[in-house]
Symmetry: C2
Subunit: 386 residues, 2 copies
């Protein structure tokens, strides 16, 4: 990868520069709104929904929230990861001596079984470089096919991180390929942050077109948090704008490592969880942590249960009418179901409420998998909407 | 309903007027593109796909098609029907003496168990009128709940058209409500046609932004055809522009009534089909027929099999990442799988290919229903994409 110490400074202005570099390669993804979900977010949860929670018997929060969905499920390769991959590659190729030292022939390498694998493969194919992707032998066949479909050279490894890194080291040794990590690098963070720049502009324009709010745009943005590349990039994109940035995580089996790390002030470096939000099983990386924690650019991180994720998933599918993977809906689940978040919005926003940008991170999931998730996880089979 | 003889003339300019009337009530729905589906449409079908068809053993067509999806699944109430309902109501309310004669108190009535019921309910609620919706007792509970959710007065009837019309007559008699039919009325057709005006503008802008084609926009549009309100309205929206308009139908159990009627020159007035494209089970109405057949504003109508609909459905869900009902994908199924259509495009479009607008009509379907459809109908469980 490009030497991180030579990356642009982690500022809003660098995110804007990154956007200028990659915008011809990526989609300007649409922003959607939904009257039904605005209503749901702007009414108190039922006493029933709060039973068996620490908020049982208390008066539920009653914030006013207008939701603006940034639909990165429509991004190239079906996820925001295309942004970071194109930016990292563009920066790598601009490195002094890269071409002369055979960079074009050597190409790039990463280990990933998810969206980053496809994103890097597409970016490399677009630039005309080889991409070597190390994937565990146990990866789902459809993901292997999809990655190969972008022209990548797929190399198999065992599934532990030690095994995968050993294979990556071998590839680097054999081919001279440069490593492009999925999130823990300034160039990746700046690339992911470009969605924040677009979202600010789009919502500002949409609110203006509605004739509202004296030109004021978003009040806040909430994004999912796995490795923290997108959360930290979005936070950078908002620095100095007055827009608050929040993270959302699954809480299942300790997947809420960022929230817990912020509480103690120490980054949690290892997580072992099988949350259905499979894009969010990784702990926050060191570089993202400097933005999220050290520089305090993220106001707070909240977590949601698996059941809340499934409820939000059904609402997005049946009401917003978009296909999304479970990781995509933790932001919405927080806005609808997390009483701590909702209470905070009620206090901070007051009568006028908040315009909240909600990042929908990706849509790489099969219909069968969605069907199984909704069937298996919905307690008591309640129909949320139809 | 408003007296059809007093409706505006069926011209492009009337569609533009309709758009000006309703645009504050409806969503300007986005237009999406998809590189994977463009590739699929622009490559010949496999010999395997053509086995057991009249094209078996022949050289498959090889047109060049760029697809532009007009996403009415994101429209209010989840379907294009909101356009016609708002237009019909706006026109009704502008009728001389309507207010004085108690029109506001009397409200409107229709019989529908589908998207028109919800569309009219929403339009009436928005305008502050009562809406009476006659639905068969056997309607799915979720549709009854949804229609009531828009504030409508739901009245039950038997499921034959004679039984339903008897109940409507009773409602008219009791309340003085005015009938707003689902498709067979000029005001409805002009309302649905507004999507064509938007689509032309949007694709023109998008092609211009890509710097392409010397400012030329769409070459053609294909829409689903049930009662023909949308197909005829879209045809009107294109009159004089040079943009060709095509219809698409399911062929199962004679659902291809418009195609068959065009062949003999006589409108088919009754159809009994259980095609999975349940929004397209009705025969073409008399008013739409005057545009589609008599004035020849629709170039041709094509039909697709249930299996082709399911294949296209999976592709839209997993590649375009939007939730759609089966009726929505007959246009795409035609573009991808109908050799007659594809051969025609190959001949007409030549090397430069066509920019084809594909209307995605609605997204009112549960995830469970989608899962069952894909499971039950996909022959041999082949995976189309993932």
């Amino acid at each position: 990868m490009a030497d991180p110490t030579k990356s642009p400074p982690l500022t809003r202005s660098s995110v804007i520069d990154a956007h200028a570099l990659i915008k011809k390669y990526i989609h300007l993804t649409p922003v959607l709104t939904n009257a039904f979900l605005n209503d749901l977010a702007s009414n108190p949860q039922s006493a029933e929904a709060l039973a068996d929670t620490p908020w049982a018997g208390q008066k539920p929060a009653n914030p006013k929230i207008r939701l603006w969905f940034k639909c990165e499920n429509f991004q190239k390769v079906g996820a925001f990861k295309a942004r970071g991959a194109f930016h990292a590659l563009t920066r790598l190729m601009a490195e002094e001596g890269w071409e002369e030292n055979g960079g074009r022939e050597r190409g790039v390498v990463t280990h990933s079984s998810g969206n980053h694998a496809q994103a890097l493969s597409l970016a490399a194919k677009t630039m005309g470089l080889p991409a070597h992707i190390v994937m565990p032998t146990i990866s789902t066949p459809s993901k292997i096919v999809a990655t190969k479909g972008y022209g990548a050279n797929v190399i198999f490894s065992g599934s532990t991180s030690v095994e995968r890194e050993a294979v990556v080291a071998e590839v680097v040794n054999d081919t001279g390929a440069r490593l492009v990590p999925p999130y823990d690098h300034p160039d990746i963070m700046l690339g992911q942050g470009t969605l924040g720049i677009e979202l600010q502009q789009q919502v500002g324009d949409m609110i203006k077109a509605q004739g509202g709010k004296n030109g004021k745009g978003l009040d806040a943005i909430i994004t999912p948090c796995g490795g923290g590349g997108m959360l930290s990039g979005t936070a950078l994109s908002c620095e100095g704008t007055g827009i608050l940035v929040f993270g959302a995580e699954p809480e299942f089996e300790g997947a809420d490592d960022c929230k817990r790390g912020l509480k103690t002030g120490t980054r949690i470096e290892s997580v072992k969880t099988l949350t259905i939000a499979d894009g969010l099983r990784t702990p926050v990386g060191a570089y993202p942590w400097t933005v999220i924690h050290d520089r305090k650019l993220v106001k707070a991180v909240y977590s949601v249960t698996e059941e809340q994720i499934v409820k939000a998933l059904r609402l997005v599918l049946e009401r917003v009418k978009i296909v999304v993977e479970p990781s995509s809906v933790v932001g919405l689940a927080t806005a609808l179901f997390n009483e701590e978040f909702r209470g905070m919005v009620g206090r901070e926003a007051g009568e006028s409420g908040w315009d909240l940008g909600v990042v929908v991170s990706g849509g790489n999931v099969s219909v069968e998998a969605l069907g199984r998730l909704l069937e298996a996880k919905e307690e008591g089979k309640e129909k949320v909407g139809s």
